[in-house]
Symmetry: none
Subunit: 222 residues, 2 copies
């Protein structure tokens, strides 16, 4: 997974780079939009971390140019207080954004989330006649489509990606709701309930692990 970090401050680039290297990403650096475009042309970049405020060509312009070349996911860095209108007005194609000052861990978590999304893009998860087609974003049982709400869909996908692993409510929350969800843990229970109801004969695949959380359990030899 190759990541391009574009920021005019070398210090920030370095810090981000250090953290990403720890996670075994391949990291490229650019100090301005023009350099970034050059790198995108020559390297097979999977994700770009782009600062908005930069001399010469700002982050928005750079993204515009890059989008013409290749469709790459972006995470934007913005200084606190930068106009949110502009931020929101732009967001076609921006996958996430992070406000400075940010915690390195937060940035890495978001990058991970996006890259994970990329890696699982279009994957299909199956168990017997239960099929989750992520590209079509639909779920079928016995070849018949099952209508799920967005959260139910995310939850099922997360379960299928992590089959046979006991997942705490906390883990589920931070992976599906985001690390910054500070609501009630019981929320998970409710969604498990509705998801189970929608899974019909497969409802028992979601096992309650008392004192722990839930587990999507499938016996491999069937």
């Amino acid at each position: 997974m190759r990541i391009l970090v574009c920021d005019d401050e070398a210090l920030i680039r370095d810090v981000i780079k250090e953290y990403l290297l720890l996670e075994h990403y391949e990291v490229f650096e650019a100090s301005n939009g023009l350099d970034a475009i050059e790198i995108v042309k020559n390297k097979d970049i999977d994700l770009i971390v782009m600062d908005i405020m930069m001399p010469k060509m700002d982050g928005y312009q750079a993204i515009n140019e890059i989008k013409k070349i290749k469709d790459i996911p972006f995470i934007m860095l913005s200084a606190r207080g930068e106009e949110f209108d502009k931020l929101y007005g732009f967001q076609l194609g921006v996958d996430d954004y992070v406000t400075k000052p940010f915690s390195p861990k937060e940035l890495v978590a978001r990058i991970k989330a996006v890259t994970k999304r990329i890696q699982n893009e279009g994957l299909t998860f199956k168990y017997k006649t239960l099929v989750l087609d992520d590209l079509a974003h639909e779920v079928k049982i016995d070849d018949k489509q099952v209508i799920l709400t967005p959260k139910e869909y995310d939850l099922l996908k997360y379960f299928m990606q992590n089959k046979n692993i006991a997942l705490s409510r906390d883990t589920i929350l931070s992976n599906i709701w985001g690390y910054d969800f500070f609501g009630d843990e019981r929320t998970v229970d409710t969604h498990v309930k509705t998801l189970r109801n929608n899974l019909g004969k497969y409802r028992d695949l979601i096992i309650t692990v008392r004192g722990m959380g839930y587990k999507f359990e499938i016996k491999e030899n069937e």
Copy 2:
């Protein structure tokens, strides 16, 4: 899990402490970097919450010194508006940081996230056909799942982690129930009983050490 909170403001320390105690962390306090170093030397601290701005020795210096002694995860507290450069120039190895004013809930959530990473997870313990798979949070004997209650599971895991070591009821209680359990020591006996029953042919692995406690004894050469 032992946490050291280092901040020159007693009020802030107290608030953090209150919240952490609710989560059953053991909390130590230091009002300056020097004290923090002393505590790290003498107590087995698992995580440090460190304010950056402090008199005498600031948070950065303290971290530098502590890192020489022991590699402990840090969460930094920084006042909003503290120089961005300084913040980023330093914190390789800082696991997260939180900007003041922060919500206690947020801080606790971040602490939880870091401590969770620390704890050994996903391990598998085996003895002959007795297998404890911690990731799946399940126990099997002869490839057949054995249903255990949470306490039984924790107890078995603890035994398997400490095989061939005689463990007093007191030690077992403080490790599985927590240091703040004020109940009867006989409680352990009851759980040992039910665990033995569930272990079937392996029930004799748990040996009673009269006048002392219990021991999970396995002969390595079998």
